[in-house]
């Protein structure tokens, strides 16, 4: 067996040293009636080429982003990742290293995390960031729990513009439904701050935090300063969620607008769509809140010779030290996905990220302008970064399926994530990135025009 080094002679030698005749005897402690007599009903071992045939067959049953025009975003975005990123993360010392609990032999990982934390804080305009969470949705849930700890209040107001699956995760994480107010989006697909959403009107002295996504699930951009002012006036915190991190290359940093906690999905940089995971959650906050922050933190220090080095720090927040008094039960971070993020961002730099963001916005503008000309389509957004919502004159889910059957991934029908909202069933959310070509747009318009006629 290619992954098992022992020969029969090795095994015999070891059994003799232990003083038993068969390795079965080492399992004598397992009750005899529960020990399996036969090998389980599973396929037996397969050479590499056999495994490849099997996995290739499964892979070939999937339509990929390069198989046709592609416009799905909704929290995961199809961007180009430079070839060197994936090459680097496959180096043994990155791929097969363990958590840096022994810092003297983990300075690669630790220094990289320190750089990552610095980049994330800069992107978000915040004082401090952690070493990553599982993903944006769990980071959002943890941010709410953190806000409750910091303010010692219970009430949370969640904007209707939050990604519906993020909202569902938050509802699952919060053990008390009371105190959780999830504003619905209206049938324009907007979650306007005044008007139906009226988050500001609902903030009071029992509010721990308000949570807003920008750009939101429907693509709209929000006035974070107004929200921060409203929250702070009542002693509450503003939590901002960003699901398309590239947006921060063009829109204002949430920290500069007064956000207290910013969480994001970092997948857009360094990490492929990958059918939903693994992704990389980002979290940042104010320096004064760091002891309430979940997740790993990497800090600078010196060694016995006075040489600069890095270590995991403030571990008394974490489960391996505080056990039931920990801020969260989290053990792993996103490790390799954070590495891919930081490498990609260090290749881009601010010049590259700004250009990338502009191209994304420009392509989305082209897409929106082209769609606005199609009879039966209304573009609903006044503001957007690279993603916006359209309303069709017919059922969106059926239209999306019809286009998919023709090899066009025309966006996300909102009904996929909000099946009980009949008033949203004609809405589609579409994204454009630097990979969206004029030909893709033309093909979409032609096919959509046919479908709607």
């Amino acid at each position: 067996m290619r992954y098992l080094p022992h020969s029969d002679a090795d095994r015999a030698h070891m059994l003799a040293a232990i003083g038993v005749n068969t390795s079965d005897e080492l399992f004598d402690v397992v009750p005899a009636d529960l020990k399996l007599k036969n090998v389980l009903d599973l396929p037996s071992h397969t050479p590499e080429y056999g495994v490849e045939v099997h996995m290739n067959a499964l892979a070939n049953k999937n339509h990929t982003g390069s198989d046709g025009p592609f416009f799905i975003g909704a929290g995961a975005y199809r961007h180009h990742v430079p070839a060197s990123v994936d090459h680097l993360i496959q180096r043994s010392e990155w791929l097969t290293a363990y958590t840096p609990y022994q810092p003297e032999i983990s300075q690669g990982t630790l220094q990289m995390l320190f750089e990552f934390q610095t980049q994330v804080a800069s992107l978000m305009g915040m004082e401090v960031a952690n070493a990553s969470m599982y993903d944006g949705s769990t980071a959002a849930a943890e941010a709410i729990l953190m806000a409750r700890r910091v303010t010692r209040r219970q009430k949370i107001i969640v904007s209707g513009g939050l990604h519906p699956q993020y909202r569902d995760v938050i509802k699952t994480y919060l053990s008390e439904e009371e105190g959780l107010v999830c504003r619905p989006s209206n049938s324009e697909g907007t979650a306007s701050i005044q008007g139906t959403d009226s988050i500001i009107d609902q903030v009071d002295e029992t509010t721990a935090a308000i949570l807003v996504q920008t750009p939101d699930f429907y693509g709209h951009l929000h006035d974070l300063e107004a929200l921060a002012d409203a929250a702070h006036a009542k002693g509450a915190l503003l939590i901002v969620v960003v699901t398309e991190i590239v947006a921060l290359g063009l829109i204002e940093a949430p920290g500069a607008c007064g956000a207290d906690i910013v969480v994001a999905e970092g997948q857009s940089l360094g990490n492929p769509l990958g059918f939903g995971g693994p992704y990389v959650g980002l979290m940042s906050t104010r320096q004064k809140f760091i002891r309430q922050m979940p997740g790993r933190l990497c800090g600078e220090t010196v060694d016995a010779d006075g040489t600069r080095g890095f270590v995991l720090t403030l571990s008394t927040r974490e489960q391996h030290i505080r056990r039931e008094k920990a801020t969260s039960n989290i053990c792993t971070n996103a490790g390799l996905c954070a590495l891919a993020f930081t490498i990609h961002l260090s290749l881009l730099g601010e010049i590259g990220l700004t250009k990338l963001a502009k191209i994304n916005h420009a392509n989305a503008c082209k897409l929106a302008d082209a769609l606005a000309k199609v009879s039966g389509v209304d573009v609903l957004n006044k503001t957007f970064f690279n993603e916006f919502t359209i309303r069709l004159n017919k059922n969106a889910g059926q239209t999306i399926q019809a286009l998919a059957d023709r090899g066009i991934m025309a966006g996300l029908p909102v009904s996929r994530l909000e099946p009980s909202r009949d008033d949203l069933s004609n809405l589609i959310v579409l994204a454009a990135t630097e990979l969206t070509s004029d030909q893709d747009i033309a093909n979409l318009i032609a096919a959509l025009t046919e479908e709607l006629s």
């Binding site: 990155w94 401090v128 996103a334």
Partner: protein, 508 residues
């Protein structure tokens, strides 16, 4: 060693430039912010002009302050940094409870097939039947290996899996009108995530003591059970490396009291193909794909923690889950009309880890997985048979499973602690074993070789460990207290780091 203007050390060179020149061979590398700068970029992108009308007046004014590097400079930075890391590919990690086995490269190749990597989680289900097929196939392997009826695939890590299992237990109690049960029993030897998870859900954690054999005392469990107990969280094999011989009795007692049995599956590597947790009475068990099923540790993540569930808990499983119908495979994504306790993450889970784990399982087959478990246990017992001449093993009178536990009694009077011993291992080229865990023995050293280590590698490791132990007993204290001397850095001031946290680079 040089200092910057604020008196903070800047690495081993006398300037960042000198450090760069020497760094091809020397183990040090300046920070990204010291070698890159904001006016550089390593990606060719066209300049486009945009009009701001659709940005709502929210265009960015705050400087990004993010340095860029050309590709050659970027490659040097991350290659040099990587050389500061120990890794499985370079050497053995005897880390108990972590299962640091080899990470097969076929896993990486398969995960990168465009048919898996370039697929969006929210594409129409008809266009992703292969991806859902992977999830369904892996789920099938997990259910067969554990003899369970359902598996929640979406948890993103082992601890996330614990949350999933305990949430299912909580939901099950609430559905039966037993929501007042507010206590969870947790052995003192448990991994920290267990009590942290229980507390996270609002449970009161009550400790269960071990008996003198290092296993859970059935009588203590029976005494602790009451109508207020929601469940017990046990690890089997336990964190002392021992199979819990009374596990079935414990499960029966727990069930008789109306409670549920959560099993921490971190040590599943010892028993796969040998005994099935479902037969032991578990109601929920997370499986660490990054331990038992070889997905890479990546410097701390990503992990994946699918949770197998008994019939009693299956109805409460979180969304999404795969369902087979006449038209093909479907994904159930919404809780309406079901008893599911909710959703634990956006999208579907750690798909990249599923492809890797399935590749690993296909490679080994049922026969290979059983052989792997056998070899893992054989290796640990072989280490035990050689180490016990010098090391003190509190439960050494019985065979261990896949890991062997020592305490620091053998170091008594030497002035060398478990920590010092570990740092001296680094000087000999080894990552230390798990230190000070489990908490139930003093100065714990938990050693798990895994099945990936050859006899030669095991013998070399033991030779080193015996030599170190002998040196400690012979009084060579300085060797240990000053270690490590051969690593890129010496011992780091962790107290100082926590007292005055510096969590990012700041422009002077």
């Amino acid at each position: 060693m040089s200092m910057n203007r604020k008196g903070r050390p800047t690495g081993t060179g006398s300037s960042p430039l000198e450090a760069i020149n020497k760094a091809a061979l020397l183990p040090s590398e300046p920070l990204l912010f010291e070698v890159g700068d904001v006016s550089h970029t390593g990606v060719d992108l066209p300049d486009v002009s945009i009009d701001d009308t659709r940005l709502g007046g929210f265009k960015r004014k705050t400087p990004l302050d993010l340095p860029g590097l050309s590709e050659p400079e970027n490659m040097r930075h991350y290659v040099r940094l990587s050389r500061l890391n120990y890794s499985i590919d370079a050497g053995l990690y005897p880390l108990g409870s972590c299962t640091m086995k080899h990470n097969p490269r076929l896993n990486e190749k398969m995960a990168r097939l465009p048919g898996f990597a370039d697929v969006h989680p929210l594409q129409p289900i008809s266009s992703v039947q292969g991806a859902i097929g992977v999830i369904s196939e892996l789920a099938e392997w997990l259910m067969v290996l554990t003899n369970t009826k359902a598996v929640a695939m979406s948890p993103k890590a082992g601890a996330h899996g614990e949350l999933c299992g305990m949430m299912a237990i909580k939901a099950a109690h609430e559905a039966k009108g037993e929501g007042h049960r507010n206590i969870v029993l947790v052995p003192e030897s448990a991994h920290g995530t267990n009590p942290a998870t229980a507390a996270f859900l609002g449970y009161k954690v009550v400790g269960v003591p071990a008996n003198s054999n290092g296993t859970v005392d059935v009588k203590a469990v029976e005494a602790a059970l009451s109508p207020d107990v929601a469940g017990i969280m046990l690890t089997n094999p336990n964190t002392c490396g021992l199979f819990e011989p009374d596990v079935k009795k414990i499960a029966d007692a727990v069930h008789a009291a109306g409670a549920y049995f959560y099993c921490d599956g971190a040590n599943f590597n010892a028993i796969m193909g040998v005994v099935r947790p479902g037969d032991l009475g578990i109601d929920a068990m997370h499986i660490n794909l990054h331990k038992t099923f070889s997905t890479p540790h990546g410097g701390g993540g990503p992990g994946a923690g699918p949770v197998v569930l008994s019939e009693a808990l299956a109805p409460y499983a979180p969304v999404p889950f795969v369902h087979s119908s006449q038209t093909g495979l479907e994904l159930v994504e919404h809780v309406e009309g079901s008893k599911s306790f909710g959703r634990l993450t956006a999208f579907h889970g750690q798909m990249g880890m599923f492809t890797r784990a399935l590749t690993y399982m296909l490679s080994h087959g049922g026969d290979g997985l059983k052989q792997a478990a056998n070899d893992a246990v054989l290796n640990a017992n072989y280490l035990k048979s050689r180490l016990e001449k010098v090391f003190t093993l509190p439960f050494g009178d019985q065979h261990c499973m896949h890991e062997v536990l020592a305490n620091d009694d053998f170091l008594e009077g030497t002035g060398v602690t478990t920590l010092d011993f570990s740092k001296a291992m680094i000087d000999e080229g080894y990552h230390p074993m798990t230190m000070y865990f489990p908490l139930v023995v003093h100065g714990a050293m938990l050693i798990e070789p895994t099945e990936s280590e050859s006899l030669k590698a095991l013998d070399a490791f033991v030779d080193t460990m015996l030599e170190l132990a002998t040196a400690a007993k012979a009084g060579d204290v300085a060797r240990f207290t000053s270690a490590p001397q051969n690593a890129p850095l010496k011992r780091l001031d962790e107290t100082g780091a926590a007292r005055k946290p510096i969590l990012k680079w700041v422009r002077e």
